[in-house]
Symmetry: C2
Subunit: 334 residues, 2 copies
């Protein structure tokens, strides 16, 4: 059986262009003992993948040039030589960016038994949801009723962070760009603030208007002027969970950091980076599913998906992440 | 009785000049009930006082123009209308920058009963020592045998931080400038690295040579290139205790922050500002005295003092803090 997949043959500089991605195919060998063959139904594209294209190890191994790219995917088992899986089973795995994946059964997870669409396990009940939950609850130790600020608040992670914070009775401010994203945030009871055409000072002033008493928790996905503006508004004892700094992912030269880091001192604040897939975080996935799964099954979380159709569109879906082209989780449907 | 004191009549911009400080005197009124009159023997000058000269509230109230400046001091009771104090008692209080202080007994502390010189309670067993201990143990949660980096490592706080870390069996690197400071650090078994004539990249490379496996804990007193170079060397799970950012205290315009804050994310690191006088920190002062007092009494901590003589020299002593003119605790002896 043929597998069609995307690969890269060079390390992009700055924002990758479409032609960096090459669609290729190979004939899959017969299954070895313990292996499973899966027809992918949904592929995930995520900002962290940009880092894996650089050819250097950061917190994940870089992609190997010429080999299929990797990423989270949901698919249906076609054939199995692992007794835990049978044809027709829906599974989650990391063999994305391709239509048919063949991998050891140890790399597959059966989807948990919840009344939700399967692609939810790539978004609200997958890594993005777990990332939002971990940053708020484990890293920032959010308490009920606190004041919360989220950057990239309509993104895959941010859109869940604002809602999980709302569900905890918090006053929530979200930073986003496009008018329809701001409107969607307001519809959830989130105070929406646009970053567009602003410098850090102006954005900081607008955040102050949206939360005059400042913020206890800042959920950081962006960096740049968002971080500087947020630091101007932190309260004593604030916690900043650094989930991502997408502002810098495509920068070819280092950009200066915020000029007001001394706010951490003045406000006795804490800023902490985390990687959700670290064992000490991911081991809480069952707790997360128990917490958030029912909210999803009952329709209490308004999770957005932006869907591109067809394997060929995977690079376009990925690039949209850096252009503000997605609302909520960016997915490819095969 | 006359009291001679220093005051300021305007808020300095940038590094204060000597003429900002005005030596004046006033006749003290008779003691009211509960008040105590103290002849100061030792005055402390500290970097945080610069912030109090700006006329804006940060984490302490600003100094009042025209009134005596304030700061930690050790003196001998001359006259008392508080039954807890009698003439001849040695006390610590905040009525510094003057020769005779008159203040409510509630603002005085009798010196703890330890066989150490009285001025030790302004340094190694006072706020600087408590600051070093709190940053390492409570904020950075230093564990035995970890790799520690300290900036301004020969300063009042840094020189104690490096020794407390050594006493915990840690591998310790200290950043300093002058050759005699580097030499003193090396004499303690600290790997000394000069920041002079280096950019962040070069300093980072030299820190790497001094601690090839990186650092678990960074005790930050400086900011600027020290912070950027340190971030380049943090290990997974590193903790940065931000005690001070003296590099920026006299800056007239904000300077950009480090361009590599993304290291916090890549290394899952934590950066936390703290103020030692906050109640949740200062309440551990008795534990600190129990821990560190015996080390001082037994001569096991090599604490340095730089002493200026005479009240008139207090502003000069203060300004030396920003010129690298002190080794260890900067004091004025009256």
């Amino acid at each position: 059986m043929e597998s069609r997949y995307f690969t890269i043959h060079s390390h992009p500089k700055g924002l990758p262009t479409r032609d960096v991605f090459s669609l290729e195919s190979r004939t899959l060998p017969a299954l070895e003992a313990g292996e499973v063959r899966v027809r992918n139904r949904w592929l995930s594209v995520d900002p962290y993948m940009r880092g894996r294209m650089d050819g250097v190890t950061t917190y994940v191994e870089p992609f190997t040039l010429g080999q299929p790219l990797e990423g989270a995917a949901i698919g249906e088992v076609l054939e199995s030589r692992d007794e835990r899986f049978s044809p027709g089973d829906l599974v989650a795995h990391m063999g994305g960016w391709r239509d048919v994946a063949q991998l050891p059964g140890s790399g597959l997870q059966a989807l948990p038994d919840l009344e939700v669409p399967p692609q939810a396990f790539l978004g609200v009940l997958g890594m993005p949801g777990m990332t939002a939950w971990t940053g708020l609850n484990r890293i920032a130790q959010l308490k009920e009723g606190e004041r919360v600020l989220v950057s990239a608040a309509s993104g895959a992670v941010g859109s869940l962070a604002v809602q999980l914070a709302k569900a905890k009775g918090c006053h929530v401010v979200g930073i986003a760009g496009a008018p329809e994203k701001l409107e969607w945030l307001e519809s959830l009871g989130v105070r929406a603030v646009s970053y567009r055409d602003k410098d850090a000072r102006q954005l900081g002033a607008d955040l102050h208007d949206a939360s005059p008493e400042g913020v206890d928790v800042y959920y950081e996905n962006v960096g740049g002027i968002c971080l500087e503006a947020a630091l101007d508004n932190i309260r004593v004892g604030a916690r900043i969970a650094v989930c991502g700094l997408i502002d810098g992912y495509n920068a070819e030269t280092p950009s200066p950091g915020p000029s007001n880091l001394s706010r951490l001192l003045i406000r006795r604040a804490r800023m902490e980076g985390f990687i959700v897939t670290d064992a000490q975080n991911w081991e809480h996935y069952p707790t997360f599913l128990k917490d958030v799964g029912p909210l999803v099954a009952q329709g209490k979380l308004d999770y957005k998906e932006t869907v591109e159709d067809g394997l060929e569109r995977t690079p376009d879906a990925f690039l949209k992440l850096f252009e503000g082209g997605n609302t909520g989780k960016m997915l490819v449907r095969l």
